[in-house]
């Protein structure tokens, strides 16, 4: 038993596995300390510091030994390919996110060093979440990250932000209840909280009467919890409101990073079930993902606000990717990361564009910050801005050769390979529906006449060099995807192959 002190050596403890998280947490503490020492330091310092910390974190992550059975810290850490890969994605997305704080106008949350500290804590939470197959640690990571995230949302300091945070928080608390209850059920069946021990235990007890009931019940509870995190229908209701309430960059961030983390955990848990030949899980996930992508798409059609539209579109994308979990093949798993790796840049870019055009006051609409009218005739006034946003939209719609297309193709291909051609067709048709609302923005930008309120001042209200840099990077990655998809797939494949999926 691991509580026996005699057996513990530093080798077994393998503290290096904790390094990335420790760096993030330590960095957060350093930022708080700096604030204690000297107040009112300009946010750029914190931004740069955070980026540095993230880079160190990234370096530490990449430096880790990894393998399907690379364990550490009382064997609760699992540093397999999946963990490394998802941490890299999380960190890259974070690095992209943080410079968006450097807007030309002052926004409330970024003037607090706590924001950056919380941000780093949140990252540490996500990192814990993805690099463990211990349900306790996953829970702790999840909650650390979520609690930080609620706070970050609320720090935007608007009516909507508080409302969003409360909604997210309350539903998150409920989901935490489900997660823990699900874990308890699994624990009850298997007597273990480690996934790699749970799997064989379940397998050996599969035949017992009544076992299936508990198994499926537990799976259902866990599915509820992660469906909430991944914003699957009907657990998605928080997402549009939270995206609307959060600041644009944070919304973009939320549509990527927490989802990657949740996908990783879902992969670990649900693919275990699927590998155990429990078809129910597969069926349910497919039903959920079909419902999610379809309904989210339909609801996105009728939105008047671009940000809210993008929120629904993010939900739909999550539903799209969720299919891969149900397939539980290597190709599908590669597809998840390829998709999110590519989607990340485009989506962050799109939200960054919204952020650039974010005005202190709602110039165009009583409720919305980014109604479609805001972009009316943009090509006439700001052609580059319109083209950039248009590229993001086309990419999100899945027009080749822009980045998201490759993810789509890969996932659809994986779906077909697994024998679910009908599902691939549904995915295709959903992309067609989705094209409508992305196109709607393109139509507004390119085919309509500008309204009076649309001027360079209002639309480029918030612009700054760092923002443009991030945008440029996003465009570059979006457009040039055709040239790097190959190595990307290669890298992801290598990582996925070095992963322990329990069975």
């Amino acid at each position: 038993m691991f509580i026996d002190p005699k057996n513990i050596t530093m080798d077994v403890l393998n503290l290096a596995t904790l390094m990335p998280m420790l760096i993030a947490i330590g960095g957060g503490l350093v930022i708080l300390t700096i604030d204690l020492i000297k107040e009112n330091i300009h946010k750029s310092l914190y931004v740069m510091l955070t980026i540095l910390i993230l880079f160190v974190d990234l370096g530490a992550t990449l430096g880790l030994n990894f393998g399907p059975n690379e364990k550490g810290f009382f064997d609760v850490m699992l540093i397999d390919g999946l963990a490394i890969l998802s941490q890299v994605l999380i960190l890259v997305a974070s690095v992209l996110f943080i410079p968006l704080a450097l807007t030309s106008k002052r926004f409330h949350e970024y003037s607090y060093p706590e924001f950056f500290a919380l941000f780093l804590f949140m990252i540490a939470g996500f990192q814990f979440m993805v690099s463990s197959d211990n349900l306790i640690l996953i829970f702790i990571g999840l909650e650390t990250a979520s609690l930080s995230l609620y706070t970050l949302i609320a720090m935007h300091n608007r009516h909507n932000s508080f409302e969003a945070a409360v909604k997210y928080f309350t539903m998150g608390a409920l989901a935490a209840g489900f997660f823990t209850m699900g874990s308890a059920v699994l624990y009850g069946i298997s007597g273990s909280l480690e996934l790699y021990q749970i799997a064989p235990a379940i397998q050996s007890r599969m035949g017992e009467p009544g076992m299936m009931m508990f198994l499926l019940g537990g799976a259902g509870l866990l599915l509820t919890a992660f469906a909430f995190k991944l914003s699957l229908f009907p657990f998605h209701t928080w997402a549009p409101d939270v995206y609307e309430g959060a600041s644009a960059p944070l919304a973009g961030y939320m549509s990527v990073v927490p989802k990657i983390a949740a996908f990783v955990v879902s992969m670990r848990i649900f693919e275990m079930f699927i590998d155990l030949q429990i078809e129910w899980v597969q069926t349910m996930i497919i039903i959920l993902s079909v419902l999610t992508m379809t309904l989210a798409n339909l609801m996105a059609l009728v939105q008047e606000d671009v940000k809210r539209m993008l929120a629904y579109s993010s939900i739909s994308h999550a539903g799209f990717v969720m299919v891969a979990i149900a397939l539980a093949t290597e190709k599908a798993n590669i597809g998840i990361f390829l998709y999110y790796g590519l989607f990340m840049f485009t989506n962050l870019g799109a939200f960054a564009m919204l952020w650039v055009s974010r005005h202190k006051h709602r110039v165009h609409h009583a409720r919305y910050d980014h109604p479609y009218e805001k972009f009316s005739g943009m090509v006439k006034i700001m052609p580059m801005g319109a083209i950039v946003m248009g590229l993001f939209m086309l990419s999100l719609a899945g027009v080749p050769p822009f980045s998201v297309f490759w993810g789509k193709v890969y996932l659809m291909s994986a779906t077909i390979d697994a024998g679910y051609t009908w599902l691939a067709i549904i995915m295709g048709l959903n992309s067609a529906i989705a094209a409508y609302y992305y196109l709607k923005l393109v139509v507004y930008m390119f085919l309509k006449e500008p309204t009076e309120q649309v001027t360079k001042e209002t639309t480029y209200y918030n612009v700054s060099k760092p923002l443009l840099t991030i945008l440029g990077l996003a465009v570059f990655v979006t457009v040039g995807s055709i040239f790097y998809v190959d190595p990307l797939i290669e890298y992801i494949t290598e990582m996925i192959r070095a992963t322990n999926f329990g069975i």
Partner: protein, 636 residues
Amino acid sequence: MENLVYIALFAPFVGSLFAGLFFARSPKTHLVGVVNSSLIGIAFIAAVTLALHVAEHGAVHVTMMSWISAGDLSIPFGFLVDEVSVTMMLVVTLVSTIVHIYSTGYMNHDKAYNRFFAYLSAFVFSMMILVMSDNFAGLFIGWEGVGVCSWLLIGFWYHKEDKTFEENPSISPSWAANEAFIMNRVADLGMLVGIFLIYWNVGSLQYDVVFNALPHLADGLLVSIAIALFIGAMGKSAQFPLHTWLTDAMEGPTPVSALIHAATMVTAGVFLVIRANPLYSLEAVHGVSMFIASLGAFVAFYAASMALSARDIKRIVALSTLSQLGYMFAAAGLGAYWIALFHLAAHAFFKALLFLGAGNVMHAMDDELDIFKMGGMKKVMMGSYVYMGIASFALAGLPIMAGFYSKDAIIETAFNDGSFIIWAILVITAGMTAFYSFRQVFFTFHGEERYKALGFHPHDMYKYVLVAMAPLAILAISFGWFMDNFHEFITKNLPDYEMSHETHHLAPYLGGLVIVLALTGIFIAWKKYAGKGANAWKRDEEFEQSFIYKLVANQYYVPRFYDEFIVQPYTMASKKFWEIDKAVVDGFVDLIGKMSYKSGDVSRGMQTGSLSAYLNWMGVGALLLIVAAAITALIG
């Protein structure tokens, strides 16, 4: 000789380009008329030379270049000048030359003089391709080419407005042009099908290959080919029921009517049947041939009956053309191909003459066409009177005239074949022909000078035009004299038609019967219409109310029928289809869009914004999952 072939073929083309490219936009110039007439004349001379050559040395066959080759299909631009085609070439170029010269006078006052010659020469070119081609596809080029030129020329005065059917049965030149084109296209489809059948069963479209292969083909197939090709011929030669365009085509300038709608183009169908005689003389397609003959006889009578009551000078001539085409088909259908061809040539001459004469009258009468408004014009238009008289004699088939020999031969053929019904019809029609042609002559040139009251000041055509018409008149009289020479020449290529001994024996009586009938017809016409004095002729109003008269005067209501049962339903159906297209086909697409949008609108209703509702959704979802889990677990 090759060069002569090309000269005959391309001289008209050069003329067309000359007028079309260089003078299309310049004001009227006689240069165009002269050059084009000369070029056609050159083509005529080339044709004559070729004819002599053919008579002496046999057919000339040239291949210019390949046209379409795809798969196994290979169509060259190849030209065959043999006895049949050279006859056609002679007829075409001769009549064309005269019509060209005639047109320089007739179209003298028309603004679009140059354009007219461009079209007219283009027509000659197309017609030459039609007759000279050595394969069915080449024939089809000419076939369609003459169709287009006919379209252009019928619609030459395109600026005229549409009238109602009552005002002008042809509605307008442009309408008539479209009608002609479209109706011909109906037939062309048949022709195309024939070509396809030939290709897929023979593998070639060359005449010689096809005709050599015919004996090896199945009977049913041969019948299909024969029918398909004949459908094509029916369109071009305006056989019932595709005949209505021909009378409407009279909206075109009169030289056009003379050349295209009397002498040459409309005989293309007959030419096709003659050309394909190896097919139509096969035992297997005897039924088709008999049908052709019967249809020909029917059309001969049918058209003649309509001509009896017509008042429009050009329509009368057009209907007589139709009727004579019927004769030709009757002959061809009965296997007397060379007689059909002979009548074709003879008819070309006297009918062109008749039309050009009618043109003179029209020209004099400021384009007035109603013969009721004319009368007694022989005083002012002696030349035209003589020409039209000669032509009418020829048409009526009076002795020594060209028509006498050719038409008589056809009637004899019918008798010889034992097809007495056809024979009877043709004989009766001959009498009717004499009547209506002289009805027209007497109405126009004899009797009371009704035009005076209407304020016309007619004068005859230019002298040189009248002189230019002389060859036609001479041929209308004398062409028949060369029947034996023609027979000898043409039967090298076409099968001979031997009259039986009995027929030979009866021939004088048969001929006499026809002559008697014709003379009777002329006499009745003389009695009725040639008298002088104010009361010499009166319209028989009562008779004009009778059913028979109305039936005939309204062309047996066939145009009406087409309008009511084809044109209008087609238009209606088109409009309906358009509505369906918009409402149903497109509506369905839009419906999908609208439904998506609507369902989006409905589903966004779940986003009430209220946290408790959200929690309930989540709870419901969780419960459903658990219930589903329970059910699945219980079922197994």
